[in-house]
Symmetry: C2
Subunit: 620 residues, 2 copies
């Protein structure tokens, strides 16, 4: 059972300097831009099912999922920004999708019009169940945003049909998705319908995957089952390998099923694989999946910076997995990673303007790399495989729900970003305001503005993993309680005017990596609070490749130029290496003193083409 739930979208309205503006931009810019792209590329018209061979815009195997994510984003954003026109547009889209459902419940544009003869025949590569999952998530969001059941009912019929096709009974296929996603979606569907059948189907997909005889190998002659995490059952995996987005959606679904079913061996697998990721396979930004070859995890500690893939969707998926583990355990170590990914690796794929996207998020970019792999080095309006842009549509509106967790008895502040809240649960019916300039300042205040009808309850404040010194007071009196699982828990009958105040010391931190991470040897990263900083060429006069971080330097904070108001840049002493034309040479190049400026790494490449590096070589 989950101890906590993410806060509902409409319960928390962020007012912080980092995310709140971007959530609005997602509503105003990103969503319309993605709708437009879906329309232009044929992803919307595909649901009319009138495509014929020879016509342009042949519905692709993953198109349904792209449009579904945009629909989900429209619905979630509607909860923050009610808009009758947007709702009307959304309903028309939903009606169009529903109209594409077949009599038996099936709903997939590609396999209805392009290759109907191959339905369920190429699970390992054809994204059929993946598309179904995203449609289910969209339906759940639509129901929560509008209260209308039509889309959820449609998806329940689809899920009923899928439950007939797949399973261990005679006549059923013992298959599972080639791209995991439907597992977590089925758990959401179970929750809103109250029908356990759907979470049981999710459990089947999780538990059957990789069992022997191997379905993908024997039935579909798939040779690359490791990339699909289908080479062995989840409980036998010691390391998380293969396609990173698949892997982390898989674990998110597995965590949901473990919570629903109370299956401790499944939860242990989630915990073990979590540890493998965060202890050996995660960039300091929360990026994961270090190679473009198969968009995959590679080997423990193999975390190259310039060729880092670290797909936007993979970091988003890590947030989804972390959020589930956090809410099952109430343990801040999951929040620490979730926060890192949120402020760095997961958001860096989105331009500040809201209309351009990285697919890959390298931790280092040199000018000359623009020429090589250009599409990966500049944010683009769209991609042939456009999973990342559409994923942002639905990710941004959820950020506050990651920041706050709620139970009948407790309000948990995972991330103390400024916001107004209005939470109504059994014992925790509170209105409040959290102020401060997190993540740029560690001081904050939570003030209760209305507690009518509330009984005794707990407000739990996470002490960030990066924070060494902090103070906390309640109504002016210092609180000396030790954190439990990383949270200081304050319990009382809350009253209007109650004030919790805290100050997290937020010094600039110089961080090193495990020596097994070859790319980071002799280098340091600059962090402050949850933010990973980066040198960007536009702020530095010396070419980045010549800048060395002077060991022991002090740091100066200053407003960042050309970035959103409130953004803090960091300056410090550098040593600048002399340049050379030679490729290889004997002797050392001299160093001379200089300065550097760093900005929050996720905000790079918003001021024109630039080079960037997060791990900075050090010098005495």
């Amino acid at each position: 059972m989950k101890e906590y739930q993410p806060a509902a979208i409409q319960e928390i309205r962020l007012q912080d300097p980092f995310f709140s503006g971007r959530i609005r931009i997602n509503n105003d810019v990103t969503l319309p831009a993605n709708v437009r792209k879906c329309r232009e590329t044929g992803r919307i018209d595909a649901f009319r099912l009138d495509w014929k061979p020879g016509m342009p815009n042949q519905p692709h195997i993953f198109w349904d999922s792209d449009f579904a994510k945009v629909i989900e984003g429209m619905a979630l954003s509607l909860m923050l920004y009610p808009d009758p026109e947007r709702e009307k547009e959304l309903d028309e889209f939903v009606d169009l999708i529903i109209s594409a459902q077949q009599k038996d419940g099936y709903l997939n544009t590609h396999f209805t019009v392009v290759e109907p003869e191959n339905r369920w025949k190429n699970l390992s590569r054809a994204h059929e169940l993946y598309c179904a999952g995203h449609l289910m998530e969209a339906a759940v969001a639509h129901y929560k945003a509008t209260g209308k059941r039509k889309f959820v009912d449609c998806m329940a019929r689809y899920a009923d049909y899928i439950a007939e096709v797949f399973g261990r009974n005679p006549g059923q296929k013992r298959g599972y998705p080639g791209h995991q996603e439907i597992e977590l979606a089925l758990c959401k569907l179970a929750e809103v319908t109250g029908n356990r059948k759907y979470s049981d189907l999710a459990a089947y997909f999780i538990n059957e995957r990789g069992q022997s005889p191997n379905y993908f190998e024997t039935v579909e002659h798939c040779e690359d089952t490791e990339n699909l995490q289908a080479d062995r059952p989840i409980r036998e995996m010691q390391k998380l390998r293969g396609h990173s987005v698949r892997a982390l959606y898989y674990l998110s679904g597995a965590a949901d099923v473990a919570a629903e079913s109370g299956d401790s061996s499944l939860f242990e697998a989630c915990e073990r694989l979590w540890n493998n990721v965060v202890e050996r396979n995660m960039y300091i930004t929360g990026g994961v999946g270090s190679t473009c070859v198969g968009e995959a995890f590679t080997a423990d500690y193999n975390l190259p910076n310039d060729t880092a893939y670290a797909e936007s969707c993979a970091s988003i998926a890590l947030v989804l997995f972390a959020d589930r583990m956090l809410n099952q355990t109430g343990d801040a170590r999951y929040a620490d990673v979730m926060e890192t990914a949120l402020y760095n690796g997961a958001i860096s794929g989105l331009s500040l303007g809201g209309d351009k996207f990285f697919y890959a998020n390298p931790l280092e970019n040199d000018d000359q790399m623009f020429e090589h792999g250009q599409q990966m080095r500049k944010r683009q309006p769209w991609f042939g495989c456009s999973c990342c842009p559409t994923n942002y549509c639905r990710f941004l509106p959820q950020i506050a729900s990651f920041a706050w967790s709620v139970s009948d008895d407790c309000l948990m502040v995972n991330i103390p970003a400024a916001c107004a809240g209005n939470v109504k649960r059994k014992n925790t019916s509170l209105q409040f305001r959290l102020s401060g300039s997190y993540p740029y300042d560690g001081a904050g205040t939570l003030e209760i503005s209305d507690a009518s009808g509330a009984g005794e309850s707990t407000i739990a404040l996470r002490i960030p993993g990066w924070c060494r010194n902090w103070t906390l007071s309640l109504n002016g009196k210092a609180v000396a309680d030790s954190p439990q699982k990383g949270y200081v828990r304050l319990r009382r009958e809350w009253k209007k005017g109650d004030r919790i105040e805290w100050k997290f010391d937020m010094p600039v931190r110089v961080v090193h990596a495990n020596p097994r991470v070859s790319a980071d040897i002799g280098r340091a990263a600059i962090l402050r609070g949850p933010l990973v900083y980066a040198l960007e060429s536009v702020d530095n006069s010396a070419p980045l490749e010549l800048i060395r971080l002077k060991k022991g330097t002090s740091f100066t904070l200053k407003p960042a130029e050309g970035l959103p108001e409130g953004t803090i840049a960091i300056s410090g002493d550098a040593m600048i290496q002399a340049d050379t034309d030679q490729l290889y040479f004997e002797g050392d190049l001299p160093l001379s003193p200089g300065r550097f400026t760093a900005i929050p790494s996720a905000l790079w490449q918003n001021r024109g083409d630039s080079s960037m590096r997060i791990w900075i070589p050090e010098a005495e």
Copy 2:
């Protein structure tokens, strides 16, 4: 016009501690192993042309080239090790190949039996002209080794037919190879047949490539012309990009055509692209092509170590290109690079036992990388695409011909590896012996044992680019001449007993890379003479990732354990970093004094699975 020619195979017999044993092993082990693999996989039987759909071992588009390279290797090795049984086997193979020639001259197993309807229709991807080129090279080698013309005549008929099909006349295809190689092969065919028609065809392929309208784009709808160096004409290329083996075979053919035709604009293109490679895109080992994605060059200075592709064939191709540039110019700067590639990047793909091969040659391997990309991290007996093993078959017998260049008037010692020589040219009819233990010692002697019939001629000794101090004497008298283009030239009427003695100081060198090479910042490579050294785990008690090269250390030479007699290892002071379990942490890990041992990098992974690194992080 070429100023020099590579020495003929049979003119120089190496007796050095590095290559001579391996050339013998190539004859005794590598060649038979490759013949066996060609037989097992169907590459030989393919020439029977009796394959039918549904049968196993469908002839693949590049199979002919693999067998051709083995044939070429058998012929070349026969010149060093005459063997009637080997010659008989070779002749049978040649007869089999000839029997597969079609009436019109065409000879390709795949396009004769698998898809005859597609002959010349998929030039950009189907390796048709590439296979033809390797067959031509094999035929030339067979003729030189045996004096028999049948294979050369067969290939001349094929080339005649190709010259009818391709060209700028009405009715001809204005195409060119998808994988360059035939250009240099046609120049060889022109040389042995004395028929300029073939070098003219090579010139056509070189000059037509990438012209507008683009043949691959317009006729074959190829979208990736940059990978094939067909995105623009060679004279418009500023940087060498795309598939590295294609690129360097292309330049080798272009250099041949430039020499043959005296085309200075073509030679200038070769020179410009040479500079781009060696000044910005070459590993310190002479490895080239830094990414597995497209087996390609990427961006200037993008030279990652652990993910380095540096295909064996690409380094071999670099040697072929360097050899051509050297022989056209007599300039030692080409020999410097050729020597680097020969002793390091080009030979590292071959096991000491002669029967296992690297396709990729990373400059760093960590234990955990074995799990990821296993086939690339351990030498293998064979590959599905087995270009590298078969390339070694023909490469090894040629090494002495790279080491020595000859003209009517001059003998040029490019690489002073111990050997016995017997060269007969117009004014340079000399027998001699070069002694010493190069590359492990810089002292050497060249003694003339017979000069009967020789007029006045020059012996030119290259002063290696890595050598700062050297002495040279002729018959005991110091020679003070300055090198010209890197060679000290001694001219006289040579007599039996004449002795040239030299001593190249060969200190251990600590080399750094241009700061734009991100992977090498804060690191040094250890070199001695032409050899690039590497730490290998089997020689070092500390895990390699914890070893730092102590700045300013002195070095000790000692015999390397478990490697061929004469191999020198290098020891020195290291700082050993403390270990940690944490992935990221604040503060520094302490260092304690220790030692390291390094071996010639090309010899790694011959004593069991090991980790390795060439670029070693430095510490004070």
